[in-house]
């Protein structure tokens, strides 16, 4: 399993970027980041996710061109380019808080995930996790990839708590 540290780094980076009101940003290209970015994109937090080299891709490029093939030659150069969203002068993704850390991985089963999603706090092995507030999203790494808590519940899956966004 890749380290959840990358998730923490990505969360901090996204928070910083939304505070700076940037339109596009990049995070290191790895599986965990990619899966989380796609989950965020599905929830509507990101406008686009595109894998490209060190230079930011243009909008046209992202729409029309397929991402560059990843080879052993260019894999070290690759980054994930994420489009940030803003509405009414405020960032759509303003908070991203990591939950698990490498020294304390927090996992939930379906019942506890249900409680969290309904807004109740859950007592997990690693500690107490407060329930979701209005408009919050919780991301869980499951056996079927990184899913939002509601998606995971729909598939009846528990897993590792990654982060919560708002």
């Amino acid at each position: 399993m890749p380290s959840v540290q990358t998730i923490s780094n990505m969360c901090s980076h996204l928070q910083n970027v939304s505070k700076a009101r940037l339109a596009i940003t990049s995070v290191p290209n790895n599986k965990f980041n990619l899966n989380l970015a796609l989950a965020l994109h599905r929830s509507g937090f990101l406008s686009h996710v595109y894998r490209a080299g060190p230079k930011p891709p243009t909008l046209e490029q992202m729409i029309t061109q397929e991402p560059e093939k990843v080879t052993t030659a260019n894999v070290a150069q690759m980054r994930l380019w994420l489009g940030m969203k803003y509405w009414d002068g405020k960032p759509v993704l303003s908070q991203a808080t990591p939950i698990s850390k490498p020294s304390r991985l927090m996992t939930v089963n379906i019942a506890e995930l249900g409680k969290l999603t309904r807004g109740l706090s859950a007592h997990l092995k690693g500690g107490v996790v407060p329930g979701l507030n209005l408009g919050e999203c919780l991301y869980v790494a499951t056996s079927q990839g990184v899913l939002e808590s509601r998606e995971a519940l729909a598939r009846k899956l528990g897993g590792l708590l990654l982060c919560r966004t708002n």
């Binding site: 599986k31 990619l34 406008s47 686009h48 729409i63 991402p67 807004g119 209005l134 998606e151 729909a154």
Partner: protein, 599 residues
Amino acid sequence: MTRSFKAEDSILLLEKSEDVACLSGQSERGFHRAQGPPNWVPAITRPDQTVKPSKQHVATPRKETRSLPTANLALAELRNRSGRTHTAMSVSRPAARRLVGRCLSQTRTQPPSSTPYAAATAAAQCLPFHSSTSCSKPRRSQFRNVKASELGLTNADTLKAYKADKFGELTPEELDKLRQKYTPEQMEALLAGEKAVDSEDMIFQGRLRDDIHRPTYIDDYAVMDPRYDVKPEAKITADEPLFPTEQEYMEAQYKKMTDLATKSTNDMISRSLLRAMRKVRRTEVGMDTMDLTEAELDDMERDPSLIERYVAKLDEDGVERYADDMDTAAAKAKGALTRGQATRLNEEIDAQWQKEFENMFSEDSYELLRPAQVDLAKDAPDGLIHATTAEQPDTGKIPGVEGKFRSDEDPDDPDGRYERYKKTSGLPVRTIQKLYTKVLATRNVANQTRLGKVRKASVIVLAGNGHGRLGIGMAKSIEPSVAREAAMGLAMRNMRPIRRYENRTIYGNVTAKLSGTVAELQSRPPGFGLRVPARIFEMCRAVGIQDLSVQLPRSKSPMNSVKAFYKALLEQPDPEEIAIGRGKKLVDVRKVYYGGSTA
């Protein structure tokens, strides 16, 4: 805190139904499609064409199959879509799908697209900016449009019958009736009009109403009807002021007084005549000949202008007719006098009148010649209204501008007590009177100058309407009452709308920090009540929040706790805004699960 309340109270952001379907469906197919060559066409859309399945296809058995007609339809739709230009919104969706890993790929209910453009359009379609479901087809009328020809209204026979019925020629009897009603000129105009307008045109271009809502009147547009007619704009111009010279003024005044004197003299003479007539009536001669009653004579004496009404006028030629000249039947019918009777009566009246005159002028009686008070009053600007009062008559309004200016005084606030609040809040007095205001906290502050401490009272006041508007105002003054008044005005001016969930609690849980004070607000289920600090309780009452829990974990300073709570109320998350920002459909689960009952 109970389990059920949380479930009820939380608002969940649900995925669009399409996305939910994607998540619950099979996930393998998208992955293979993404891995396929760019012009890869899946077998389900083109069943007539044999496509060699790739290795992945063999590895994963496909479960779903589609019937031909559906596929054809889908194909047609696809072609239509790919012809369109794509929108720039959520642009990288197709690209993202290519990156999708095995577990994250999505099974779409619509047929797979062969070009990235088509997929881009489809992706754009599932991210509308509004929260309601979009209508797939343009709305059609519920009723079929029936044409006149289908109803048989344009048949030649039907038309002819209708024309004869509604616009037939005028019969001679009808013409006669019209001639009785109208003058020859009007008749001419009517007939010319009949001739000028073709009845065909009346049928096809005009509209002869026979519905139940037709007007039940025939209007000649002589009178304005406020229901239908636009009020014509009245052009009011102020009269030119008239500044008479002294000469003119004196002449006008002289003329006025002369007129009054003449009128009063005439009246006096008439009265004396009437008195004479009354005396005559009491004599033997009068009894027989005069048909005026005592009451009528009284009336006439009171108002001499009535004479014209009661006393018979002379005939047209100015000669009085007597019974002698007429035949007896007519005389009887008219009740006319004989010439002899009339002469005697006149003589009697003249004699009495003479006496009255002598009486009148024998003593020095200016009183009789003085204009009556009523006449003077009539002449005053206000007219007869002031005839019976002792006060000085008004100088009167300036004609032309009368009623065009409103007085400054508010009828709701004659003392001007709310004048200040009206100015600061911009609200009408009645609304201000209904507002709930309360002093929340007072403290004494001092400014240290070289002359010593300048002590002042600092007051914080709330104002709310009990239905979602709340304001707080803070003011300082040496006089506490002055500070209170000023703070109240500021609170009214600062009133802002506070969003309330179901008009009883707040949206979600909010935390606001002001200086060292942190206010933690939690929305609560119906019937929970207000478990909040006292000042915040007052604020909740003023804004109309019934269910709430508030903690102040840190500093509980009066001023800052009030301000922090106000800040938190204004910082509530807005589900609608969140939904728009994320491009998601939003559903209040509470309203879905409990049949929309929010009580």
